[in-house]
């Protein structure tokens, strides 16, 4: 009977793997930061915006204005546009849009009433005639508006030299649009662009897409380095201390099974799950190694002992804490909490119920005696000190929710980005969206924004809207005398008969713009549920002027994340406090008269992190890691309160080393996100080691 059960663990792993493949759970995993935002209007809006042409641009600049520089940039343009996912962003105009503007100009543009009041038709027409006849070059006349009473559509101004766009005081420049969508496509494109551009110091090339590629490469190489260190530490731990290859293989298999089941579960609940949930979730799953160590060291894997109550209580307390945290509105932490609960449950069940049936070699315990007694610290005094420190830290603790501060500090690329920003009038532009319930209202809202800030680029504001049509029609009815005078005077001056028949004459019927028409005009308008959206760009410093309109929405992921964080942080703290309270209550029932000692394992690491918070701003990953450390501490608190012997301490010691291999090594990372996790993990691990070695033990009831 014993033989087949040895393979059950591996069979479970294979079944989980097959299920994972058949359910295609991994396809729900997303590398986009968007996936950590809750589903809703903003998420949909940004997602749609990312698919528009304006979201991914490539800037190219070649130093100097000489012929060689011009030749170089033209060659580069040719090579870059030959790439399948690159196209040049020019100033070419959409002919259908031009036609619409021409036909409905009288009704879609604002009429300058001051100019209209002062208008002298005869004088103006004479001046126009003189201009046409005396100018060396032909003077273009707008048949509908020869006196330019209507506001003219805004055209972006570009500075050119030798027929090419230039960057002031630098050299020639070009704009391109990138059509790559996934990280894989970004990477391929990045390599192709870099091959073309080469390492020429006179060429500057930048795209926000480069951040995805370069940062993910930097993170990957950093993570590889860390994985190597972690693997070495873990192998040393398992092979030198445990010396049981079968146990090692089974443990890895169990952790894999639990991670796969948790992944399947979470992807069944959510359509899109951030890769962060997967990574952090797996990290938390490794806490379960701790269950294995305690069962193994206390000889539960080769005897018919009943359940290890300490591990069961530890598991239930940790899961209770994650259960409470899962009620947070902050999607990332909610999903991580669910993932952690599922994976810890699976691991616990396998370690506690299956492993004793499989049976492993007895742990070979070697007792090392020492004449030194390090247990010098009084737990009660240390508990009091920790409590004072935790409460005091609220005076200096401050938060940093800027997502960029968590990312890899790509100095070189930031410098290139700064170069382009500085040469573009030293302004940084942000994207925004305008929304409305109908196309007509959307055009009207675009006109309002355009009137508020003239510098905004919103082509939609040049389209016909019902409101502007009615408004202009009323004014044009009063302009009939101007029309008649113009026609008569033109005839007298020698203009062709009928040339100004359509000038200021209201003879067009209103026709509403449809979504298809607008798209044919080359504009970005999307319909999400029953709402229409269009996109625009504005100088960051003047965004405030339009931000107060309730139909304007920022498209800054950073801004929404921060807002979302600030909104969720209070609830998260309430839930955190509630989780802590539940832990304390559970600890009271589990540990009874040794509760003070158990609490020390929660409050002491927390107090050291509190001291650390004096020197740095606390970010989301510090908070996240604190939960992990607290989850581990609960287990240790329960184990030691129940059985404060050398074996328990050894199990905890091994478990701490494996935790350090999993999380602590992140302290060697150059990426702030990983370093933040590593530093809190290391503080937590060192704190618990201090407690293990230096704090006097407690007397147990048995």
């Amino acid at each position: 009977m014993k033989k087949p059960i040895k393979y059950v663990n591996f069979i479970l792993f294979i079944i989980s793997l097959l299920l994972l493949i058949s359910l295609q759970s991994y396809t729900h995993l997303s590398t986009s930061l968007l996936s950590i935002l809750p589903n809703g209007e903003v998420k949909e809006l940004i997602k749609n915006f990312e698919q528009t042409q304006n979201s991914k641009v490539l800037l190219l600049a070649v130093k100097d204005f000489d012929n060689e520089a011009l030749k170089k940039i033209l060659t580069l343009e040719k090579e870059l546009t030959a790439l399948p996912l690159v196209s040049k962003k020019g100033i070419k105009q959409n002919s259908k849009f031009q036609k619409h503007k021409e036909v409905y100009k009288l009704y879609s543009q604002e009429i300058d009433l001051v100019k209209l009041k002062k208008l002298d038709v005869r004088k103006e027409l004479q001046a126009l005639y003189n201009d046409m006849t005396s100018s060396f070059f032909p003077v273009q006349i707008d048949k509908n508006d020869p006196f330019k009473i209507l506001s003219s559509p805004r055209i972006p101004s570009v500075v050119l030299k030798n027929g090419h766009m230039i960057l002031d005081n630098y050299g020639y420049m070009s704009f391109f649009v990138l059509q790559s969508k996934s990280l894989k496509e970004h990477q391929i494109l990045y390599r192709q662009i870099k091959t073309i551009v080469n390492n020429d110091e006179n060429i500057k090339v930048f795209s926000p897409v480069f951040y995805y590629v370069e940062n993910s490469q930097a993170i990957k190489s950093d993570v590889n380095k860390i994985i190597l260190i972690a693997t070495v530490i873990l192998l040393l731990l398992y092979l030198l201390l445990l010396r049981d290859l079968s146990l090692l293989l089974n443990t890895i298999t169990t952790l894999g099974t639990s991670a796969m089941i948790a992944t399947m579960m979470i992807t069944q609940l959510y359509d899109e799950v951030s890769i962060f949930v997967f990574v952090f979730g797996i990290s938390i799953s490794t806490i379960a190694i701790d269950y294995m160590f305690h069962h193994y060291i206390h000889d539960f894997f080769n005897t018919s002992k009943s359940l290890n109550k300490e591990v069961l209580f530890g598991f239930l307390t940790t899961v209770s804490a994650f259960f409470i945290l899962s009620f947070t509105s902050f999607l990332l932490i909610k999903q991580i909490a669910i993932f952690a609960m599922v994976s810890l449950f699976v691991s616990y069940v396998i370690f506690a119920l299956l492993y004793p049936k499989i049976g492993f070699k007895k742990f070979n315990y070697k007792h090392y005696s020492s004449s030194y007694n390090f247990n010098v610290l009084n737990p009660n005094k240390l508990l009091l000190l920790s409590l004072v420190l935790v409460l005091s830290s609220s005076m200096w603790i401050h938060f940093d929710f800027d997502l960029k501060n968590l990312d890899y500090n790509n100095v070189k690329l930031k410098k290139t980005e700064k170069f382009f920003i500085e040469h573009f009038n030293a302004h940084k532009y942000i994207s925004f969206a305008i929304k409305a319930n109908s196309i007509d209202d959307l055009i009207e809202n675009a006109k309002i924004v355009q009137r508020t800030v003239n510098a905004v680029q919103l082509p939609l504001s040049d389209l016909l809207s019902k409101n502007t049509y009615e408004h202009n029609k009323e004014i044009l009815q009063d302009m009939k005398s101007i029309h008649n005078t113009l026609v008569a005077e033109a005839k007298q001056l020698g203009f062709k008969e009928g040339y100004f028949d359509s000038a200021y004459y209201p003879n067009k019927k209103y026709i509403s713009c449809t979504l298809d028409k607008i798209k044919a005009y080359g504009m970005d308008v999307v319909k999400i549920k029953d709402t229409y959206y269009t996109y625009g760009k504005i100088d960051k410093d003047i965004y405030e002027k339009i931000a107060s309109y309730n139909f304007v929405k920022s498209l800054s992921l950073k801004e929404h994340f921060e807002k979302y964080m600030k909104e969720s942080i209070n609830k998260l703290f309430v839930l955190g406090a509630l989780a802590l309270l539940v832990i304390i209550v559970l600890l009271f029932f589990i540990t009874k008269n040794t509760m003070g000692y158990a609490l020390l394992f929660l409050l002491f690491p927390l107090s050291i992190v509190g001291i650390y918070a004096y020197f740095t701003a606390i970010n989301i990953l510090h908070i996240f890691m604190m939960f992990v450390i607290l989850a581990i501490s609960i287990d240790y608190a329960i184990y030691l309160s129940k059985k404060n012997d050398a074996l328990t301490k050894r199990a905890i010691g091994y478990s701490l080393i494996s935790t350090f291999a999993g999380f602590g090594v992140l302290i060697f990372s150059k990426i702030n996100a990983l370093f933040s996790m590593g530093i809190v993990a290391t503080i937590g691990i060192v704190s618990i080691f201090i407690l293990l070695i230096f704090v006097k033990g407690v007397k147990h009831e048995s």
Binding site: N67, L70, K71, L74, G90, I91, K92, Q93, S95, Q98, Y129, M132, T133, S134, F136, F137, P138, V139, Q140, I141, D142, K148, S152, I155, S157, V158, V159, L160, K161, N162, G163, H164, G494, F495, K496, Y499
Partner: protein, 166 residues
């Protein structure tokens, strides 16, 4: 002046100057212009001079002078002077920057706006999408020293015929 007017003005002037021999310091020209709005044709004569740090266009019929000095476009006519700040009109400035480049025979500029076709010594320029809304087409014939003719057809049905008269 509307953007497209400036643009057209700029493109026409580039065209005009591009096809003239670049080594000339002063070019004399005659122009026939048909204006559709009036249904009439006008003829004018003038000269273009390339001076140090400036370009000057002088019309002989009314002695009006256009001067470009890098930052401003100054129009002088009947003792009236109009000064156009080119920092506010980047497209006009661009034209003159191009203008200088053309003077030094940088033919690459034409490629930015047109595709080229040659038949029996006559060159046809087909406008690309950027300017096709304003220009219908261009034809010219020139030898190494002299421009025989330059014909420009505009979208609004205006036509210009220019000849070098040196």
């Amino acid at each position: 002046m509307f953007f497209w007017e400036e643009k057209m003005f700029k493109v026409l002037l580039i065209l005009f100057l591009t096809v003239f021999p670049a080594f000339s310091k002063t070019i004399y020209f005659s122009e026939e212009k048909y204006i559709e709005a009036l249904g009439k044709t006008f003829t004018k004569k003038g000269k273009i001079s390339f001076l140090k740090n400036k370009i000057e266009i002088i019309y002989s019929h009314d002695n009006s002078i256009l001067t470009y000095n890098g930052d401003y476009l100054i129009t002088k006519k009947n003792n009236k002077i109009r000064k156009l700040d080119l920092a506010k009109k980047p497209s006009v400035k661009m034209f003159f920057i191009l203008f200088e480049a053309i003077y030094f025979n940088k033919k690459r500029v034409l490629k930015t706006y047109f595709s080229r076709k040659e038949t029996k010594g006559i060159t046809q320029l087909i406008p690309n999408e950027t300017i096709s809304a304003y220009i219908e087409g261009v034809h010219f014939k020139k030898n190494s020293k002299k421009l025989d003719f330059l014909d420009i057809k505009l979208k609004n049905k205006d036509r210009i015929h220019i000849e070098e008269t040196n």
